[in-house]
Symmetry: C2
Subunit: 337 residues, 2 copies
């Protein structure tokens, strides 16, 4: 390594209480060590802001993979290879990996994948071509199986996964209803993403509206939020319906996580609450990405990516904004050069 | 009809608050009308005491099939045909049906089945050969699929369904753990029904005990109770595990039904909370009963039936005792002649 590189990384300084704040995080600057054989030095270009991170920041051993004080904040990034001692990677290539919120990353090549920029632009590898798009793709098409006779509810519909999931359910011909946190996002879901109905769950009558627009019970509840919206919706789950547990964002920053009190409707309706983890599908990512990119290029699918430009230390602010519901699609920090 | 028959039936007089009390029910006496063509007059011999009834007694339209004030209390009975104007049924035959808690029932034959007493004694048609046995049989063998490498937890293990389910899981070779409400019932589960482990959930350390005896995570949680026992157990649900929602008895008499706060473990573990209703299997009851009766006669399966003798007006007391956990297997009121 001829040049010296100074990394800036975001670490956890306090366990957040409720919504995270700026000073729950710190920036650490350190020099990058010389590369070993097979090492690849990557300059981060885009950082994905991931809602599920909040669950890992809890001061509790109740959950796996927790982030402890002074640990690097976990997150997916897209970056450019700027030096490589690994024959499989060359300078200038774009790569994707869960390498943490930092300006530079060193990888041995085992925890990264190449981004084929012919398939989609780099930022899309954190949204529609990344974990959110793949999650929506497999959990819907492989598990929920939407079809023209089905009613689909997407909670957190304007989020990273929801914004893709709703479109895929529409491509399958289903009636698609989304819930989100503002009238502006409702309009966006309908006008830009083709949702049939969008409901602002902050309005008192949201459940009556949901019941009236769904006209029959819900065959699929694609749940990104948990909490009251999912819980109430269980009252109208359909016969042999499925509630796909994609995320529980409404609960991650609560002191006590609350489950769905209406779960006994699952019994009555022979329905199920189904867990899902995308990593079970790793050997099929390529197949999915070819389809997702095809739909993108044919303008059948948008990959909503909410870019915010700034330095790495802008991360805490965007993470806070994510929990305030400010994003349209996947929140991504684009690092300034 | 040459004789006059005076029916005694149990109706709901008050919506119970918490545990039901004797005066939440009343006895009504009335003369049976003359039979019409196709009618069958049945003298009740055995009344099944069903925990799920408590959910239907809530003063709320939130649940289907509710029992309202002055309605006949619902329940399955086994009775003897004492007069028949229906060519398909003859005097002296034993029949099974959900005909309500009353001394005599009139049926047109469509809501009853004949009990083949060569297969099992009449009282078993309310336990192992009835809805509890059929529920255990199909929900385990068709949905949960126990096998020798699996850990199975049965909550409410000494109840009507649990006491059969545990034995069927043992027949399939699984390691079977049960939870119940007393040390005496724990002993019974192990000594009489062959459970590998039984845990009194009223002991403070029940969850530590469960974690230690299960040695690996739980592949199947067969849940009859809901509440804290099911909720805590979710923390050790296994990869792609199943929680079969058979009942939620701990919640039926609560003011507010509570769901499982640890539900997000289903996500992490790709597990599911699966609703089940036995009526979907009606066309396969015969097949199941042949197997259940075979196991019974080969002494591979017990059909625990907790008989209490008395008049029909003993029903409220036994129903209260059911919710106090006094039963070993299916609680059945045997009517005095």
């Amino acid at each position: 390594m001829n040049n010296k590189y100074f990394n800036k990384k975001i670490i956890l300084s306090n366990y957040p209480v409720g919504l995270s704040k700026k000073d729950d995080f710190s920036v650490v600057t350190e020099e990058i060590d010389p590369l070993n054989d097979n090492d690849i030095l990557i300059k981060t270009k885009y950082v994905g802001i991931d809602a599920a991170l909040r669950l890992l920041l809890r001061d509790s051993d109740d959950f796996l993979f927790r982030v402890k004080k002074d640990d690097l904040i976990r997150g997916s990034i897209v970056g450019e290879v700027i030096e490589s001692k690994n024959p499989k990677f060359s300078d200038g290539e774009y790569v994707l990996g869960s390498l943490g919120v930092q300006k530079y990353c060193v990888s041995t090549g085992e925890d990264i994948e190449k981004c084929d920029l012919n398939l989609a632009n780099p930022e899309f590898w954190l949204s529609g071509m990344g974990i959110p798009g793949l999650t929506a793709y497999f959990s819907l098409l492989d598990v929920c199986k939407p079809s023209p006779d089905k009613n689909v509810l997407i909670t957190g519909a304007a989020g990273a996964v929801g914004s893709i999931a709703g479109q895929i359910a529409k491509l399958a011909g289903s009636k698609v209803i989304g819930t989100t946190s503002s009238d502006e996002k409702c309009k966006w879901l309908i006008d830009e993403l083709g949702y049939d109905y969008a409901i602002n769950y902050k309005n008192k009558d949201w459940f009556e509206k949901l019941s009236s627009v769904s006209d029959k019970r819900l065959d699929i509840i694609f749940d990104n939020t948990g909490g009251q919206v999912m819980d109430e919706s269980l009252k109208i789950i359909g016969m042999k319906g499925i509630v796909l547990l994609c995320g529980s964002t409404s609960q991650y920053s609560e002191n006590e996580i609350k489950g769905p009190n209406n779960y006994i409707w699952l019994g009555t309706m022979r329905a199920r609450l189904q867990g899902f983890v995308i990593f079970d599908y790793e050997d099929r990512y390529e197949e999915a990405r070819i389809n997702l990119s095809k739909w993108l290029n044919e303008e059948k699918l948008k990959m909503p990516t909410h870019l915010v430009e700034g330095d790495i230390d802008k991360f805490p602010e965007i993470f806070e904004d994510l929990y305030k519901g400010k994003n349209y699609g996947k929140f991504v920090l684009k690092l300034k050069d």
